[in-house]
Amino acid sequence: MRRLRKHFSRKYLREEVLPTPFCPGCFNGVVMNVMFKAFEELGVERLKGYVFVSGIGCSSWIPSPHIKADTIHTLHGRAVAVATGVKLAKPNLNVIVIGGDGDLAAIGFNHLVHAARRNMDLLVILVNNLVYGMTRGQASPTTPEGMRTVTTPYGAYEPVMDVAELIARTNANYVARWCVANFNQLKNSIKEALSKHSKGFRFIEVIAPCITYVVRYEGKTPGQKIKELMKVCRPNTETPYGRIGILKAEDKPGYLDRYFEYVKRATEGDKGE
């Protein structure tokens, strides 16, 4: 039999680990396609010089074991802290953090917000599935009010945390929020965050509702949900998931610029007057 054609994403994947452990229809796979399409369009054929860091959770499985690059699977919530260390030790590497709402916005929010305050030279992709998916769908800080989950059978009653807006209020350079159905806009944001705005802290939130503990509870199939998100997530509008679009795009010096400037001042000061 003739060999099958390969999907474009597979050149960026460690093929020996496929199929993924994700549920059928899990939007993590779509996020991977968007990211790989961005790399393809940037002319990056091999991910040399890129390091992917993740913590714990379903979307933390996107880099490791799947992406054919250097990957570090760290402790729950600590991906941004480890990524900061990688970037400071090896400033020439492109460091990308991928994690979920439970990892980055709940247990690891302190690291996230301080890296944003420092304008640390990292790209952070938050795959917001709206619940704690890996532990079976408990309500998380990003669960929209009124949404039914296993821990909120009468609807979530806690006010929601708008992570992208919070990060946009810090010193971060680039903040965007797209739904997983905004394929092209999300892809362009990732490209911008790796090329035009490649300095400082870049934060992209992707709304990717958990297929098993959100979408199935809504009585919808993955296909129905993605069509719904295509309609709901119009750029620059308010949605049940917050404002969709690019919330901020600046070119302030990143942490490393400031740090090396500081080192220079310190060493010149030693020699001088």
């Binding site: 474009f8 199929p19 549920c23 059928p24 779509v30 991977m32 396609n33 993955p222």
Partner: protein, 74 residues
């Protein structure tokens, strides 16, 4: 006669139906047959225009598009 068709890696496909749903020509359906991983895989039922929307959205890197003349890989 359609100039384009799809190829599905049945070892990877999980039968989620996203490709069926996003196809702008409504050209796909899930086969009644079960693939080696225990899932129903998509097959072409109508005319495929080679837009590759199914490929972009397939979360399991399973479906690709082939066209007779020019372009159409991936």
């Amino acid at each position: 006669m359609s100039a384009c068709s799809v190829e599905v890696d049945r070892n990877l496909c999980k039968g989620c139906g996203i490709c069926v749903s996003v196809c702008p020509k409504n050209a796909l359906e899930l086969s009644p047959n079960i693939g080696p991983s225990g899932y129903r895989y998509p097959v072409l039922k109508g005319e495929c225009i080679g837009c590759k929307t199914c490929t972009l959205y397939c979360p399991d890197f399973a479906i690709t598009v082939v066209c007779d003349e020019g372009g159409g890989q991936g």
